[in-house]
């Protein structure tokens, strides 16, 4: 079993807030991240698949094809967007990276060929904060 990781980038605006709470409660829980007019990040997405190398190609899966699928299924929806307003699979959700990584998994996993097993998504929000999700 070999693990292959492809790294993609996107940048986006977002805001952490709960619409059921008052402005004061949002400020108390989310601090600056609740800023009404959004803030933003450069996000890095690490997509790790696992499998045995194909005897003919030596690949688990063509990394270029993996990149194309990730771009078409998620990066095109996220890049230069507002995560709260513009992204169909995040509508109605809290736009934390925890929820975002789960949303990306749900978009991506069904789009991969049956023999390609998604192992892990790592989503980096800042140089000091990232999440990992294993499905």
């Amino acid at each position: 079993m070999v693990y292959l990781t492809r790294i993609e980038h996107f940048n986006a605006a977002h805001r952490l807030y709960n619409p059921d709470w008052s402005a004061e409660k949002n400020e108390e829980v989310f601090g600056k991240c609740a800023n009404h007019n959004w803030h933003g990040h450069n996000f890095e997405l690490y997509v790790t698949i696992k499998g045995d190398p194909d005897p003919d190609t030596g690949f688990i899966f063509d990394a270029k094809r993996l990149s194309t699928i990730v771009k078409e299924r998620v990066i095109d929806k996220l890049d230069h967007r507002n995560l709260n307003l513009d992204v169909d699979f995040m509508l109605g959700k809290r736009c934390s990276i925890e929820n975002l990584v789960v949303g990306i998994w749900q978009e991506l996993a069904p789009a991969l060929p049956a023999h390609v097993k998604l192992h892990c998504l790592k989503l980096v929000e800042t140089p000091k904060i990232y999440v990992e999700y294993y499905g």
Partner: protein
């Protein structure tokens, strides 16, 4: 022989922004700025590197105290821009497109009055890991 040394302090902020000109049509903004003009904003992690050049002080051995630069940048820059929308939340970009170029010039102008006259100041600003600007060039 000159004993001038450059010292660098790296700081970080993140912000939302949008590149567009309100006096131009949506089509023209799209042509000039592409996805960066999208109406609901996007954002970046900005890496700011402040460079101060001068001769080390004979008493301290410092060009400037790094803690002093850090405190200055926190007070003048980070508190102003961090977790903000540069277009909507700041005075500096009410009528100025918040490109990396313009942000670097604004940061320089905010810091320059606080740096000693005999010291040179230069700003390097990373908008993404691969796009960065320097001012003065």
């Amino acid at each position: 022989m000159s004993k001038r040394v450059a010292v660098y302090r790296k700081e970080h902020f993140n912000a939302a922004h949008r590149l567009f000109r309100p006096d131009l049509s949506a089509q023209e903004n799209d042509r000039l700025f592409g996805k960066c003009a999208l109406p609901n904003y996007h954002g970046h992690n900005y890496e700011l590197i402040v460079k101060v050049t001068g001769e080390p002080d004979p008493i301290t051995g410092y060009v400037v105290d790094m803690k002093w630069i850090s405190d200055l940048v926190q007070e003048k820059i980070i508190e102003r821009f961090d977790h903000r929308n540069l277009n909507l939340d700041t005075q500096e970009f009410k009528a100025l497109n918040p490109t990396a170029e313009n942000i670097a010039i604004v940061i320089y102008d905010l810091l320059r009055p606080h740096v000693l006259a005999q010291h040179d100041l230069q700003i390097r600003l990373y908008e993404t890991p691969r796009n960065f600007v320097e001012y003065p060039a």
